[in-house]
């Protein structure tokens, strides 16, 4: 793994972590480690996620009923807990994504007012 300077990584906004996890699970059930890796990969390592901080979030998402968990066996023949998206979770992801997009548009609008047209 290439070393990156700490300043290149952006601290994840609390709450948007939920969205990222749900998004990751969209493509099928994954275990905790896999989710961490996916997020890192997809964001080109820009998003710094301490692997440990996933776990509280995973618990919370379970309580909300957006994901379910099941013990299974990984490709390396190791026991791992796999998480999958539920129907409610799917709906939540859609809602969160659109909210985030609105948020981004708003910020962008403020930063580059001349480009709105």
């Amino acid at each position: 793994m290439a070393k990156q300077k700490p300043g290149d990584r952006i601290e994840l906004v609390y709450g948007s972590l939920d969205m990222l996890i749900l998004r990751t699970l969209r493509w099928g059930p994954t275990h905790g480690h896999g989710i961490a890796k996916s997020i890192g990969r997809m964001s080109e390592e820009t998003l710094k996620v301490e692997h440990g901080s996933l776990y509280p979030a995973l618990q919370r998402l379970q309580q909300e009923g957006w994901i379910t968990a099941e013990w299974g066996v990984s490709k390396n023949k190791q026991r791992a807990k796999y998480y999958r998206l539920t129907a409610a979770g799917r709906r939540q992801l859609v809602a969160e994504t659109s909210r985030w997009e609105r948020f981004v548009r708003a910020i962008t609008g403020v930063l580059q007012p001349a480009d709105i047209g």
Binding site: H33, A36, S53, Y55, E64, A80
Partner: protein, 882 residues
Amino acid sequence: MSWRREVAKFGALFRRPKPADDLEEEIRSHLRMEEQENLESGMPPEEAHYAALRRFGNVTLAQERSREMWGWDSVETLRQDLQFGLRMLRKNPGFTVVAVLTLALGIGANTAIFTLAHLLLNKPVSFPQLDRLMSASVITPGGDERPLAPANYLDLRAQTKSLESIAAYEEWAAGVQGQNGPEEIRGVRVSEGFFATLGVQPTPAQGRVFLDEDHQPGREHVVILSYGLWQREFGGDTHVLGRELRLDGENYEIVGIMPASFQFPLGGQQFWAPLALSSAEKSERAKDILATVGRLKDGATLEGARAEMETVWAQLQRQYPRQNGERQLSVLSLRARLVNEDSRAFVILFLFVAGFALLIVCVNVANLQLSRAGSRRREIAVRVALGATRIRLIRQLLTESVMLAVMSGALGLLLAVWGVSLLRTNLPEQVRRICDLTGLHVDVQAFIFMLFVAVASGVLSGLAPALQGSRMDLRARLETGSGRIVGGGKRLRNIYVISEVVLSVVLLIGAGLMVKGFSALANHHPGLEPQSLLAFHVNLPSSRYVGSRQRATFYEKGLARIKSLPAVQGVAVASGVPYSFYENEVGVISDEHTEVRSDQAPTAMQESITSDYFRVMHIPLLAGRHFDQRDGDGAPAVGIVSESMARRLWPGRAVVGRRVKLLERDADPEWITVVGIAADVRHEVYDRAFRSILYRPMEQAPDNSMDFIVRSFGEPKQLFAMVRSAIGEVDKGEPVTHLQTMAQKITEQASALHMVAALMGLFGLAAIILSAAGMYGVITYSVTERRREIGIRMALGAQRAEVVKMVMREGLLYAVVGGAIGMGLGSFLARLLSSLLYGVQAWDLAVYAGVPVLLLVVSIVATLMPAMRAARVDPMMALRYE
């Protein structure tokens, strides 16, 4: 916080394994996978392992935060706090015992008083839908409340539509033959619909209520027993229905038994009999004898009923101006009628004293906790270092405090149960009069109150120590030696000790003034020499004594027999001797002011007496003559007035020979000629001024309910048995009631107030002892803290005596400051008390001088020991001691 999560959390509480448990395994597997990847990308094994850990972040933190998601934080931490708190309490038995005992006393006392207050104020009686019940009476121009006259009652009953039903009742003290001779038991004569109005009846197996025909004159010899009477006199015999009870010499058939919970009106009624009015009695409009109780119709309000009844009354006033003209109708809810001003005041006084005591206890326990917090500094510091927030610390300390208080509350509840049973049997007569005390026990509401008070005390006594103990100056805590107090603690302790001193001084001043005031009242009986007097009461029922001649014969015989007893100096009969709660106010018109309106006429208390009355009572006659044989029935009406009455009606003029007329409502009253003036005598402990009394000769104004007053040579108590048998010789079925010495009567009247004063005094003393203990603790602590300083001083040449003086100065400073503030506040309390309570003066030298002296003595004692100990400090040890 989404509800979904809460539900999930709640559900998880009961699942095994808990969701958080296999987290550990999951994290381990995560780390393994990361390590594996690292190895595959070429890292050496050890670096792979550590890189994985670094990438993960803080494992413990992740675990904890995940656990937090699932755990019900509050419950978990609460349990932890409680367990820890229990352990701490066990470790400090001295603190625990003192704190628990004082808190238990305070909480217990408050719970007991609450039970009494609750009973007195909220359920003097308990009926279904008590709020729908009302009561009507009249108010005389003098402001007295009186029952209704039968004719008025019947008219109101017929014409008021907003009442579903209304019934009347009249008290009846009947003579029965008890095991030890004749006795008097109290009962009630009730009209039609009485039980239906109240909504009670005997259980079906135990008879019936009265039928309409029972209320016909001649058919009224039936009776319903109270549960208590049934148990006592008939042993709970299940076949008692149909048997007979002999009341006032006549047989009454028992037709029913009321359940144990039924008490009405108040004060231990033993039986109920039907009220049977003859047609003459039904049209009686001048005699006020019938109290009433009514039930509002569904949907009607008290205000509506009141308005309607007042309209009816206004018409009755127009129709019968002489009888009803100056009487106003009063319509109150039954509860309001039964709970009067006096009982409310009494209860509030008690509550105040108990609350005050609890306050003192809380301050003391807070003080104890503060000193204990000092020794827990290290523990707190470690907690802070491990990441505890201030809120968390405060919550922990408060939890411990509340737990301590609740535990004490449980003990306090036991004390309250004991206290309540004590109250039940020992409350003064005045309280029994207004409330049925058999219902006085600790119940669910008292329990809830106890919990509430315990939690409040816990918070109150724990808050400041918690705030103090959780202060986050970490470095100072860990650095300082165990013998030094962190600054602010000292100030708070000072405040506590001073406030304890203030509270106890205030209480002592209040108590002292009350005690002085009440004993002055009780011992101050101008116009009377009670030491050798005794009195008793007889009630001659019309069923056995028909006509005034028969009654007069009874009195003559009674007087003669008692006079013949060896130890008797003199005996007389009067309607009501002083200190026997006798009331009989009538309006009077003097011959000078015949035109005065009846509602503005002066009033006087009317008393019928035998001719020896003043001589027996040692009341001097200031002018004129005593009654004698001239003043018989049919002779010109005469009277003797009290000194105050003479002054009020004929100021500055000769009075003998003047005439007065009583404002009676049934007949045209005759003029009464004044033949003498008697000195004033006080009739009740609470009288602020002498009453106007008009004495009439017994023959001219006979009464069927009279007091005998006897003056003895020597101790009156020795005459009790002989007096009883003397009356028994005259009429063996006639009960002798209220047989007491005059001294006993006076004490009984003042007993309620004596009790409050004694309680206040007790609390005051307890308070000052607690303050002394607090002072002792603080000074001891201060000495320990200043050990080095003392050591240095002594090393530099200070004498032991100087050291002692130095320490005692500190202690006495508390006493002086606290005492000054306390005296100031106390004088406010004094002014309040003297305005509320008759007889209590706002200034009394003994009290205002005595309390500071007591405070001084107590403070000296409290500070002496630590001071002596300070003087024994070895300078070498002190300087070395860290």
